[in-house]
């Protein structure tokens, strides 16, 4: 069944311009390894890094928003600012290389996958902290006041009143960040993670069909991002239920 389906698909592809039966076979043969690279590495890499990154972002945003009292908070606040500035001011590829190729020389040896997770999480944390901070600040002051007049503490107001509203505001920009991240996971190929694009490179090293295989890889990324955009739309509709249209 599957075999007859793929052979039918191969015949169909062979009819396209610039294609031949051989090339069509390459496209079909490359598809699974690349998709597997995506499913086993690219997507988990993106999801895990995003989850960790969002936790970092929330903490950094809070450090920067909560009124500063005391020297300890002041120090943490400065450190948070330096972190955001350093991550945003340096290329992600350079950070990735420092973690994977650089750290071993000071005795910290990490596998490819954890190295990539660390680099991507730190990046998402820095970029998303600005988005989260702006979303929180966009909620009117009256909401904080209303929270405190029903007796909530600062943190309770944040948790029950501000955060749910800020979440709604931040879904579109954070989706943007996430989709960028999905594509940036291709950088992990340079630290030997066998994700989607690394698979593409392995395949082209064998058959030299660069145009064909890299274009196919591009289409697979596109497909994944279309799916994510669809999820984003669903999420926005759900979160927008309390907003006047």
């Amino acid at each position: 069944m599957l075999a007859s389906l793929t052979s039918a698909l191969t015949d169909l592809l062979a009819l396209l311009p610039f294609m031949s039966p051989d090339r069509a076979q390459i496209v079909i043969d490359s598809f699974w390894p690349m998709l597997k690279g995506g499913i086993y590495y690219s997507i988990p890499l993106a999801l895990i890094s995003f989850a960790i990154g969002m936790m970092i972002a929330l903490i950094v945003a809070l450090i920067r928003i909560v009124p500063r009292t005391g020297w300890l908070h002041e120090i943490v606040y400065r450190l948070a600012r330096i972190y955001v500035s350093a991550i945003r001011g340096t290329p992600m590829l350079v950070q990735l290389f420092i973690i994977f190729y650089g750290l071993p020389s000071v005795g910290v040896k990490l596998d490819p996958f954890p190295s990539a997770i660390i680099a991507f999480s730190l990046n998402i944390g820095a970029y998303a902290s600005e988005t989260v901070r702006a979303s929180i600040l966009s909620i009117p002051k009256g909401q904080w006041e209303a929270g405190s007049t029903v007796g909530l503490t600062y943190l309770q107001t944040f948790r029950h009143v501000i955060l749910p509203q800020a979440l709604r505001v931040s879904v579109p920009p954070l989706s943007n960040t996430f989709i960028s991240l999905v594509k940036d996971t291709s950088l992990a190929s340079l630290v030997l993670v066998t994700e989607l694009f690394k698979q593409a490179q392995i395949i082209t090293a064998r058959n030299y069909e660069f145009m064909l295989v890299y274009t196919e890889a591009a289409f697979i990324y596109w497909g994944i991002c279309l799916f994510l955009t669809f999820i984003q739309g669903k999420l926005e509709t759900r979160l927008d239920r309390y907003v006047a249209k």
Binding site: G142, Q143, L152, V243
Partner: protein
């Protein structure tokens, strides 16, 4: 019930409150009048710790709480002061992501640890009281301004405060909706709630207030019963204010 003494508050170099005293008796309605910029809203917000006075004392007669602002009050005391009173805002400030019912339930469930079922029953009773039981599952954006403000009042009642504070509760409303909200407030007054109301609704003050206070430029100009303030006052600034507002 509450003794408020010598409240001072400045924003930067702008001295807004210059020593205000007020005593509020249990079950009485105090109406605060004054031109805009007089400090009356700031004063009201001080009672709820939304603004922290620079000095002054807020003390409850039953000795349950006394906060002296000359020294920096600790967080616990401020939270206790907050929880003494319910606040109704000019711009309602309902929680837009929660239904009418959920707006009322948040305080009791999170702060007082009331069970969901109990909080819901109490919230429904309060919605019923303000005549909006049928709107329980609607979000604020689906309600008119007057309805939103009555939900705001019900939300203030839900935390079972000792007193209710109203900050120009009808100023943002369309004229035809003002009456609904005032009726609800009159009903509360007749039920014996202790209320402090900042408003420009002179007729409400005449009908309902037990005590009227005129604040100008951060000072209390004159205070007394509604009759004394509106009919018998000879204070030139009181007369000037009433003339301005009634013309």
């Amino acid at each position: 019930m509450i003794q408020i003494t010598n409240i001072h508050k400045a924003f930067g170099t702008n001295q807004v409150l210059k020593g205000i005293d007020l005593s509020i008796d249990k079950g009485k309605v105090v109406v605060i009048l004054g031109p805009s910029g007089s400090g009356k809203t700031t004063f009201l917000r001080c009672i709820n710790a939304l603004e922290i006075p620079d000095q002054g004392v807020i003390a409850f007669d039953d000795n349950s709480l006394s906060v002296d602002f000359s020294a920096k009050p600790n967080k616990k005391k401020l939270l206790a002061l907050q929880r003494k009173s319910g606040m109704v805002f000019q711009s309602y400030n309902l929680f837009p992501h929660k239904t009418a019912l959920q707006n009322l339930m948040l305080g009791p469930t999170v702060v007082q640890g009331v069970s969901k079922a109990d909080a819901q029953a109490q919230a429904l009773a309060l919605l019923n009281k303000v005549g909006l039981a049928d709107k329980a599952d609607l979000y604020p954006f689906q309600l008119s301004g007057g309805q939103q403000q009555r939900i705001g009042i019900a939300r203030a009642l839900a935390i079972e405060p000792s007193l209710l504070l109203f900050d120009e509760p009808t100023s943002a409303l369309d004229p035809e909706l003002v009456q609904d909200v005032l009726e609800t407030m009159k009903q509360l007054a007749s039920e014996g709630w202790t209320m402090v109301v900042v408003t420009h609704e002179i007729s409400f003050a005449r009908d309902v207030a037990d005590h009227v206070v005129l604040i100008e430029d951060g000072h209390v100009v004159e205070e007394g019963s509604a009759q004394q303030m509106f009919e018998l006052s000879t204070h030139p600034r009181t007369q000037a204010f009433l003339q301005r507002i009634e013309s």
